[in-house]
């Protein structure tokens, strides 16, 4: 007997691109006046949360952490899940190369352990898990371009097989001043803003910055 997978839902999305933050495809924050560093700082201040650890993170982690923060505002109630039922599956093109370059520059003077720890792409997953106390499956994949079909298939599998009940998934990429982050909250039951979790909808949201 073939068991068809259940329909899953994107209950929230967040996108950070070209100095604009989008929540559920609507712009919610913008600061065109600064470079990436300055933008990340002002976007953090715009959230009005107190999380001093943010300042210790590298740009990739700041970007992913901020995107997750916007994603989970308002209509995510973490308390309905056990920590091990929520996972994070991310992807990007440049792994941790942005910080790899900074770290290697530091070795010419004094190798910095505070930078070295960020020379792995999955550290951003760790930062998101620490913030929201998610303990479920986590994985980081490298693609040249965002692969919505893979995300649909891989995350769909984790949730449909009850390995996870909810998953934060998407793309967090950063190299120099080039960056983009797009995160999706995938759950079994549709929320008020729900879109069906399909590769097509994932891509529509991913491109909603017209980029």
């Amino acid at each position: 007997m073939i068991h068809l997978p259940d329909q899953l839902y994107i209950n929230a999305s967040s996108l950070i691109s070209q100095q604009v933050v989008y929540k559920d495809r609507r712009p919610v924050f913008s600061d065109q006046g600064s470079d990436l560093q300055g933008f990340l700082r002002s976007a953090y201040q715009g959230l009005q949360v107190n999380y001093p650890k943010f300042y210790k993170m590298d740009n990739l982690s700041k970007l992913g952490w901020l995107c997750a923060e916007w994603l989970l505002r308002d209509h995510f109630s973490g308390e309905v899940y056990r920590p091990q039922d929520v996972g994070v599956v991310l992807s990007n093109a440049n792994a941790s190369l942005d910080t790899d370059i900074r770290y290697f520059e530091s070795t010419r003077q004094f190798a910095s352990p505070a930078l070295f720890v960020y020379t792995l792409p999955n550290i951003v997953i760790g930062e998101i898990c620490i913030r929201h106390h998610f303990q479920g499956e986590n994985a980081f994949f490298i693609f040249e371009h965002f692969d919505a079909n893979f995300i649909e298939q891989y995350v769909g599998n984790l949730v449909n097989n009850n390995i996870l009940q909810a998953c934060i998934c998407g793309w967090v990429d950063c190299l120099g001043d080039g960056y983009k982050a797009a995160l999706f909250l995938v759950e079994k039951k549709p929320g008020p803003q729900a879109m069906e979790f399909t590769a097509e909808n994932i891509l529509t949201i991913y491109h909603s910055d017209n980029g």
Partner: protein
């Protein structure tokens, strides 16, 4: 959590390390008690002498200006995958085969060019080097690349298992490699994490890791279910959600991954015949693992760490250590833990300190943990 809908067989495997270029060569050396860890004096990597297991020592850097030239990282993946595929009947040209690459740092050595020289950032990108490897192996798509710190190798195999289970593919070729360059060595040294002696996992005097270089490959398949291949029976990944560079204080999260993996395999802890632990020989990692093994109900089960043979081979570690354990299961032996002399963890777990025969050799558990708080557990069995 659902059981695997079909058994996933490990059809074939390969390890390339300083101990040999096939799994058989490697396994024979380990059985004879040979370690690949040596003292090295190499200014290009470190101002001080260091212990490591190195493949690249003395090899000239390839001239990448000629088209078709491969870096050592790329060449090792190609050689390892090609060797593992020999005689399996599995082809990377088959659209039902997926290629999965595991690495933490890939071609990062290319960042170490002289200041002022242009850095080949494109070639450092894992998707770019992965594509070259894939094309050389006759795989005409982009490979799937896993880069998830020190659990990369186990996560890559688990991903292969899931892609086969879901019916997307029939076969998965899972290959991994990392090289110990100045970048990686200086980083672990900056953490004060590298031991001044060969590493001593779970030992009272353990004081840090030894790094190592290797490439390794497994060929997984939904076929061969009725044959005598070792199967991947279950697997799980968890996150500590506690600290990005320090392991959990309790081991509960690794224990949870072990519990999920056992549950998926349909096994109780008493059905596990030995555990191949991560056992990096840092004070905190081994303590956390001992707590997790104890919490998971595996206190009586022999546990080894293979880091004393190979050092920590990073993105290859999960593959290398699973492959060696799989062969030792077939050989009804549990390997010792080189460097271990006296108990140095708070839980009374059973560290394997001698080559010993297994009374029963049905299943083993492989674990790993890494930066970012990640933990992985895989169960292999007949």
């Amino acid at each position: 959590m659902s059981r695997p809908t079909k058994p996933i067989s490990v059809l074939s495997d390969n390890i390339i390390s300083p101990l040999g270029r096939t799994t058989d060569e490697n396994y024979r050396q380990l059985k004879a008690g040979v370690s690949a860890i040596r003292n090295h004096q190499d200014q290009a990597r470190s101002p001080q002498p260091f212990y490591a297991s190195l493949l690249s020592q003395g090899l000239p850097a390839p001239d990448l200006s000629s088209p078709g030239a491969y870096t050592l990282f790329e060449q090792l993946l190609i050689d390892s995958a090609a060797n593992a595929l020999e005689g399996t009947g599995v082809s990377l040209g088959d659209p039902r085969t997926v290629l999965i690459i595991s690495s933490t740092k890939g071609n990062i050595s290319l960042l170490e060019s002289d200041p002022g020289q242009p850095r080949p950032l494109e070639r450092i990108s894992l998707h770019s080097s992965g594509l070259r490897v894939a094309q050389c192996l006759g795989y005409n798509r982009a490979p799937l690349i896993v880069s998830n710190a020190c659990i990369s190798g186990l996560l890559a195999m688990l991903t292969g298992m899931r892609l086969i289970e879901s019916g997307s593919y029939d076969h998965a070729v899972v290959t991994g490699c990392d090289l110990i360059t100045k970048f990686i060595l200086s980083g672990f040294q900056s953490f004060q994490a590298v031991s001044a002696r060969p590493c001593r996992p779970f030992d009272l005097d353990r004081d840090g890791i030894t790094l190592g270089e290797a490439a390794a490959t497994v060929v997984l398949s939904a076929l061969g279910a009725k044959q005598d291949f070792i199967k991947i029976r279950g697997g799980s990944v968890t996150n500590d959600a506690n600290h990005i560079s320090g392991p959990s204080r309790t081991g509960e999260e690794l224990a949870m991954a072990i519990g999920h993996a056992l549950q998926q395999a349909g096994l109780s802890p008493s059905e596990i015949d030995f555990v191949s632990a991560h056992g990096t020989a840092t004070p905190y990692n081994d303590e956390m693992e001992a707590k997790a093994i104890s919490l998971a109900g595996l206190r009586e089960v022999p546990v080894n760490s293979l880091k004393g043979y190979y050092g920590h081979t990073l993105g290859a570690a999960g593959l290398v250590e699973s492959i060696i354990s799989l062969h030792s299961l077939q050989d009804s032996l549990v390997l010792p833990t080189p460097g271990y002399n006296q108990p140095g963890v708070s839980e009374p777990i059973h560290i394997s300190s001698n080559l010993q025969p297994l009374m029963r050799s049905r299943n083993f558990l492989k674990t790993a943990s890494g930066f970012g708080g990640c933990n992985a557990a895989l169960v292999f069995g007949r």
